[in-house]
Every structure is written in structure tokens, then in C-alpha cells.
Amino acid sequence: MNEIEKNRSVPDSFPNARPRLSEIFFAFLVVGATSFGGGTVAYQKILIVDHKQWLSADEFMVLLGIGQTLPGLNAVNIAVLFGDRVRRTRGAIAAAIGLLLPGCTLVLLAGMFYLKQGDKHFANLLLAGVAAAATGLLSAITYRLGKNQFKNIKSVSVVVASFFLMSILHLALPIVLLIMSPIAIFMYRPAR
């Protein structure tokens, strides 16, 4: 019994579960360079679970649960949690840098090109159109993630109150968190 417990807590509970640092880095580099249009988490799942079989789907969902609850981008949190799990701190660093390097580099190059450009008319126009479309995309993502939250009075009231304090009363985010978390945790307190 003790032996089974021990085996379970060891990271390599799955067949291919001990990738080298360089493997981690390059795998996440590919995700970081190819996951256009957001949805990076889905690409990570395909990589880690389906393609490389470094984790089972259930193990991945646990990482996603932690990553979503804590502050930070979900994709970055998953990368560091996975890296840390298989290769401790160095694995976390390799995964995060691999994931962020392509996007950061490209966005900086585009930004530099954009800032240096004399006549910004066309770029401005395109970015204005992109911004409008991105607004729609963002609301679609919010709708998708929040679908279940919009279904009952309890969660809708928390959603609306957080929005109201933030966007209408213009309170700073830490203050809204300080007000809303105790109220919401009380509302969702464990049933006795």
C-alpha cells in the first residue's frame, strides 16, 4: 500500500514522463510559435497529452485547475506547473521561456517596425479594424468561459457586482478583490 502511494506521487507515473530539459524547451517553443489566435491551452493539451504522452488527460486537468485558480496567464501557469513537475525549477524556466520567446520576439519586432514607420495611416487603419474584431473575439471568449456562470442568480450577481465595482465605480482591482472575495466565498461556503 505504502509502495503504491509512493509510486503515485513520483512524477514519472506515466510512460514517457521524464522529458529532458531541451525536449521541454523545444516542445513549448513550438507551441509558443504556432498557437495563433489564443487558445494556447488547447495546443498545450495536444502536445503534452496526445502527442508526447507526458501526462494523462486527468493529470493535465489538475494542472489546468490550479493554473486557472491562481493569478497569471493560464498557459504560462500550465507551462511552469508541468516543467516543475517533471524537472523542478529548471524545467519550469525552460517551459515558460520556450512558450513566451516566439510571441515576445515577434510582437517586439512588429512593435518596433510600427513605431519607426513614418506614415502610420495604413497600419493604424488595419490595427483599428483588428482591435474592433478583437473586441468581438474577447467577448466571445468571455461568453464561452462564463456560460455556466450566466445561468444562475448567485453567480450572475457576483459577475455583475465585480463588473460594476471595477468598470462603473472605477475601483482599483485589489480593492474589488478585497470586497468581493469574502462575500463570494461566503456565498459558496461548504454546505454543512
Binding site: 489566435g37 510571441g103 512593435g111 490595427l127 462564463g146 465585480s162 468598470s167 461556503r189
Partner: protein, 179 residues
């Protein structure tokens, strides 16, 4: 200059630790703080945000563009580190403790409570971006079209955003006043 860099690092480190529910949740806060303390206009913020939509990987890598705007190459580096490092350290540390905490009812309650709050913050993010991005019937219909396409199909969003962005440029040529 050193002071600006330090201020920048501190600002983004705080935002990093506040980003419950991901990057969208802190868009409003980031826009307000950057305008107030670093003189970044909502237009510039929106342009950086749009660039981020077109780049691969997490869209919030666009924070490095804001860092570059404020303090050049060093600014980009400092913002990149201070936006991604604090939340990652917290995440790794919590991940290591996770097994010890286990599935307690109060952890469940905290998780359930944070979810609608972060959706509320995401709505604020949409509102903040919409306020600067939507100025007329063309941009409003582009946004509506993007929203409907993304909800109802499985097309990669980057094509939707680029395609509609291009359509926006074309429509602007025909009806310059309506964007």
C-alpha cells in the same frame, strides 16, 4: 531613468499577482495605471493589444511592447520579467503545496468563488477594450461579426481577426466617416 525602470517593474509585478482569471481580467487595471503613471494613451494601449492578438502564443506577450514604449529595450525586458515571473513563482510554489492541501471543501469554495469574480473582471476587460475600439457602425459590426463567427464556428480566431481587420480597411476606403 533607474527610477522609471523600478517603478515599471513594481507596477507590472503587482498586476501579475492580480491577474486572477488570466490576462483579460487585468486589462482595465493595466490601461488605467499605464495612463495615470506612464502616460500611455488608451489608443497606444489598444494598438499594442491588437498586435498581441496577431502574435502566436499567449496574447498578453504584448506587455513587452508597452515596456518598450515606456523605456526602450530595457523596459521591454523588465516588463517581460516582472509581468511573467511573480505569478509563475507563486504558481509553482502553490503547485508543490497542492498535494498536501488536497481536496478540502474550503478550497473548493475559494475556487468556486473566484470563478464568477474573474468572469466579472473579464467583462470589465471587454468593456475597456470596446470603449476605445468601437467608435462607429463599422467597428461595431466588425466586433459583432467576430463574436458571432467565433462562437458559432471552429475557425482559428487569428484568421477571423485578420480578415475582419482587412475588411475594416476596405470599408473605411468606401465610407471614411463611419469607422
Amino acid at each position: 531613468m533607474i527610477l522609471v525602470i523600478f517603478h515599471l517593474a513594481l507596477t507590472f509585478a503587482v498586476i501579475s499577482l492580480l491577474a486572477v482569471g488570466g490576462g483579460t481580467a487585468v486589462l482595465t487595471e493595466m490601461q488605467a495605471v499605464l495612463l495615470d503613471q506612464f502616460n500611455i494613451s488608451p489608443e497606444t494601449f489598444l494598438q499594442a493589444y491588437s498586435l498581441g492578438q496577431l502574435a502566436p502564443g499567449p496574447n498578453m506577450t504584448m506587455v513587452v511592447v508597452l515596456g518598450m514604449q515606456i523605456a526602450g529595450g530595457i523596459g521591454a525586458l523588465v516588463v517581460g520579467i516582472s509581468f511573467f515571473l511573480p505569478s509563475s513563482v507563486l504558481c509553482v510554489w502553490t503547485g508543490r503545496c497542492w498535494n498536501r492541501i488536497g481536496e478540502t471543501p474550503w478550497r473548493r469554495a475559494a475556487q468556486d468563488a473566484l470563478e464568477p469574480i474573474s468572469i466579472g473582471f473579464m467583462c470589465s476587460g471587454v468593456y475597456a477594450v470596446a470603449k476605445s475600439a468601437i467608435g462607429g457602425p463599422i467597428s461595431a459590426s466588425l466586433a459583432l461579426a467576430a463574436c458571432l463567427i467565433v462562437i458559432s464556428s471552429r475557425v482559428n480566431p487569428v484568421y477571423v481577426v485578420l480578415g475582419l481587420g482587412g475588411l475594416g480597411v476596405a470599408l473605411h476606403q468606401v465610407y471614411p466617416a463611419l469607422l
